[in-house]
Amino acid sequence: MAAAADSSGDGGTSSGEKTIVLVSSDNSARFEVREAAALLSQTVRRMIDEAGADASGDGITLPDVDAKTLAKVLEYCNKHAPASSSSSAAEAAPPAEGEEDLERFDREFVRVDMGTLYSLVTAASYLKIEGLLNLTCQTIADMIKGKTPEQIRKTLGITSEFTPEEEDEVRRENAWAF
């Protein structure tokens, strides 16, 4: 199997690429990441735009993301970030190489307990990271699809609160769907 000699740099800071510091909500953790990875978050992108040239090395604090979740989110961003910050919008299609690799990564990435999954989906929504939001939502959707209500409640940790009579009433109301 061939390896392409890559003389264009390893994409890391050695090629002088900008990094951004992100700080978790409780201020307990600071993460330095490549700009291309951080900018996968539309929220971060907006915060940088608003901070303007004044953005100092203090980093950007994300009030709604705790350290553990932020670490995991950045794991996703680092993997999915484009090789360079320059817009890859000019590609006619995503490169086929590496797609299988990303799919494998994504499958492993969501093999977590429900609590972590919910934290991830919330963080992805707040940070507006489209790929991560779709991945986590699809994962939860797959736990609902084709399952009985009891199975769904069990997997997702939902308490019904319906009395048997109430549940029957709901079913009758929507009989056309059952």
């Binding site: 086929a96 919910y118 939860i140 940790g157």
Partner: protein
Amino acid sequence: MLARKAPKNGSAGAAAPVEGRDNISNLPDGVLQHILSFLPAQDVVRTCVLAKSWRHMWESTTVLRFVWGGTNEPESMVPEFVDHLLRLRIRGCTPLDTCEFRLLGYHEIDMTRINFWIRIALQCKVRVLELMCWGIPPLDDHPIFISQYLKKLQLAGLSDDEMPSRLLDFSCCPNLEDLKIVDCYLGCALLISSQSLKRLTIENGSFGPDCRMPICAPNLVSLWLEVSNGMIPSLQRMPSLLAAYVNIDSDVDCIDSDDDDDDEDNQSILLQGLSDVQNLVLKSFWTEMIIFRRDLKFCSSFNKLKSLLINEYWCEPPDFSALACLLKLSPVLEKLTLQLYSEGPEHEVEIKLSCKPLEMSAAISQHLKTVEVKCQVYDERVRNVLTFLSKLDIFQRIEGYA
């Protein structure tokens, strides 16, 4: 984009607050709607029995997916379910964002009914419409796309030869930006036309055997065109085009007939339309296909082309004239990739060459930095290509290994 909050129904009563991080019901409504948007419509409506807070959530969904068949569907959906759900939507006047009709395998679904449902979806101001029907019998009735709200349309598996000729004329969809056509027979369509279209994807396109179909999308930004069968369509000029992928597998345009269509004399079919592009892929399976080579005579230069990927079609010995011509027409080219006799995405051999054209030469772009060669075997054919390129005096050093 957050969806509206689920309407609070007074009679449902206040749900008891639920504790614990594990509870999905604590997620914001927008996120819950996003999760529902991945589910088939039946599963969405059935969430009403999960818990009190879920009772009416399905009513706010703006994404409806109707899926029949396939191994993942435990039961087939009853058409009355679809009727009922769409009737509720029309009555409720809530606009739809996405509507998907996916039929996998043969089903006794009356296509007239599906067309009726599509009309309702369009009436609900749907923005994204997907119709995917492999394995159904020929349609008696065809959808007509008229909508000022439709932004994205995907058609897959439409393989009958009775399609209305104006099916793909989207002048009645003034806001259509994305069109994706997969596994469809396009021989009956007169043309593909849209002023607003930004992205066009045709995968495994089967075109008609006798008539060349024009594609008029003057504001296109991105094009993906696979011609598997039939006559290669003609492309009108696309000044905003950034990226294009063109892969010709069809063998129809391989014969250089003497009685060419008069309209086609002295006019480019493909390349002129692509001449403003920045990233370009041009591949043809058949070396006998004449259109690429013929177009070189009639097209102006690719003045913005930075990155070009071509296959062995262009590298015909002994003079490699097509390649030479293409290089001459690309004055600002920075990266050239030659994919020779190798489909990818993995290639056994990848060679990367650094370039620096030594002198001002009309033969090749002065900006050329990299040439990559990807193939399965470093054989004589590949060597000949490299020999040709080296005669252009551009290589500084060679890196790479098999």
